[in-house]
Symmetry: C2
Subunit: 329 residues, 2 copies
DNA sequence: CTGTTAGCGCTTTCAA
DNA sequence: TTGAAAGCGCTAACAG
């Protein structure tokens, strides 16, 4: 393995000059720089970033904490993060927490140990924030909720969910079921709050029997939908708190011989790529997943490089996308 | 920031002893170890892994090169990689190459620069292998093709595609279209080869008009399917080289007023989570994505740690999963 | 079993 | 504009 010493030797210069020529080309003489570059070529020099990072106490890496990489929405957010990180010369560590606090803390050690300069948290879990005081490195939430502290980026989950209920009511539904996420999930709870707000607004009594709790997976959407349509007074519409559950629900409803939206309308949340290609195409709330990742990463890098320390909370716009799964009958 | 010196001072020991107590607890006296641990607590010591890695010339990180993180199949493979890496104490760098050679090479610098110990390549592109001779770090392919050099893990793409054709023929189809991936993609080409093999086997003439080229996306499946069903002599079955395109195709076919599988049967490849929940549920070839990632990561770590240098090519089993989208009429 | 010491490869004063 | 030299925080001989 060649080192900066080899380059110095080959160029007949000191290591300091080689370092300068490589890092701040402006401060060395033109001719010197060329000699260095030639020597670099000649000995096939590849800087050892481990050494540079140790010396400068920077790693130019960020850690992304994601509850589950296989989730379509999250992978879109990550794609956004990656593109900004790439543009700024940062690498990204992927930390799949699987909603486990143990894994999360283990991964945070990367920052503690100087292997990463900061973290982007995709989980809305604000429990993280309780330890915020002891956390010395920069953190930003890419998918925050109302209670998430700054800096963070999020959408108005409550407002979006209420809009969806408005739409379902406007389409002729008054008996509206919900397939929620886990009770411990802030996104799920905020969307549920928006759902209740919507019902109240339209003077529809809340019926706890019409609310089921899934885990954001296709399978749970399927299972919970079967329960709902099996009810004595089944709902005419089901609002699922993410698209995966909605797609699972559609399948369950059709398998029972019912039509979507003919017998039961179904709505989702997120607008993942599959939503537009579901059969029938899925009405949902579009979150700008990619842009949220880009925003979060920009904020994080600004903080790492101390270009901006203001505690921003960026609320991104969402869009109600009406498709066939809720077309009025 | 506290260092190993602070711990040594607090414990009244040398830094060497502290290092030993932390790294190989067995070789220091019980009492000493306890003193160290107490001191670590007391000064809130967090080892600087940058320094350790520099000293040991290891990074305990691997680089995963993926053509597109948002692809469901790839994110499953990554989940498998991550779980094995985690178990062995390795972190994973995510390199989204977007099929760009420039990005790929940029990311490879991480290994060149000692920030990663090895790489797992998810792209089947064997062009990478041409440079293999100059590549000094360990590489393993998690989704190889026939031409991929060892070490790699893959499935029998040709055989699997042929099996699918067998199934379609057995279900009463003789006019079978194909929606392929890009001509430059080895997986696409191997599956196409299997498709032709299947046709030959059943004495069905190959009709180039029945083969369309997409890019593995939902949208391209939709577009190419529209072309196929618009043909004067439209196919009675369409074999898509991945599930995304198959799901896009199903939507296009149904939107045209035709029934799946009634008028046109549709098959996919991969068996991503959405396949079983498509409407109708999608017949496909199941690849053990997660297990492939696990295998690849195990092989890579074995090589990094020189526990096993044999040039293995692991061929994983695939499964034809017959679902509603191809049920015989 | 523990301490002393010499670096790992780089950047960055300080002097020239 | 360049060089000498110190040192980032850690590990691993080598002694004792």
């Amino acid at each position: 393995m060649t080192t900066i010493m080899d380059v110095a030797r080959a160029a007949g210069l000191s290591t300091a000059t080689v370092s300068r020529a490589l890092r701040s080309p402006g401060i060395v003489a033109e001719a010197t720089r060329e000699r260095v570059m030639r020597a670099v070529e000649q000995v096939q020099y590849r800087p050892n970033l481990l050494a540079r990072n140790l010396r400068t106490d920077r790693s130019f890496a960020i850690l992304v904490l994601v509850p589950g990489i296989a989730n379509s929405f999250f992978s879109d957010v990550i794609a956004g993060i990656e593109s900004v990180a790439w543009r700024h010369g940062y690498s990204v560590f992927l930390g799949d927490t699987r909603d486990s606090r143990e894994r999360e803390q283990h991964y945070e050690q990367l920052v503690d140990n100087r292997l990463a300069d900061g973290v982007i948290q995709l989980s809305p879990d604000y429990g993280f924030e309780e330890r915020r005081a002891q956390v010395t490195w920069p953190v930003v939430h890419a998918c925050g909720c109302d209670l998430t502290e700054a800096p963070s980026v999020r959408i108005d989950n409550v407002g979006a969910a209420k809009e969806m209920v408005d739409h379902l009511v406007a389409s002729g539904n008054r008996r509206i079921g919900a397939i929620c996420g886990p009770r411990t999930n802030p996104h799920a709870m905020e969307r549920l709050a928006g759902y209740r707000l919507g019902l109240d607004f339209h003077d529809i009594a809340f019926d706890r029997d019409l609310v089921r709790y899934g885990d954001f997976s296709l399978g749970s959407g399927h299972a919970r939908a079967e329960e709902l349509i099996g009810l004595a007074t089944a709902p005419t519409a089901i609002f699922c708190m993410n698209d995966e559950m909605a797609i699972g629900a559609i399948q369950a409803i059709r398998a029972s011989g019912r039509d979507v939206p003919g017998d039961v309308a179904v709505a989702g949340f997120d607008d993942i790529a599959f939503a537009a290609y579901a059969t029938p195409s899925l009405t949902t709330i579009a979150q700008p997943a990619r842009a949220m990742g880009e925003q979060a990463c920009t904020i994080l890098i600004d903080r790492i490089e101390r270009k901006d320390d203001t505690d921003r909370i960026v609320v991104m716009p969402h869009t109600l996308r009406i498709r066939d799964s809720t077309r009025p009958r």
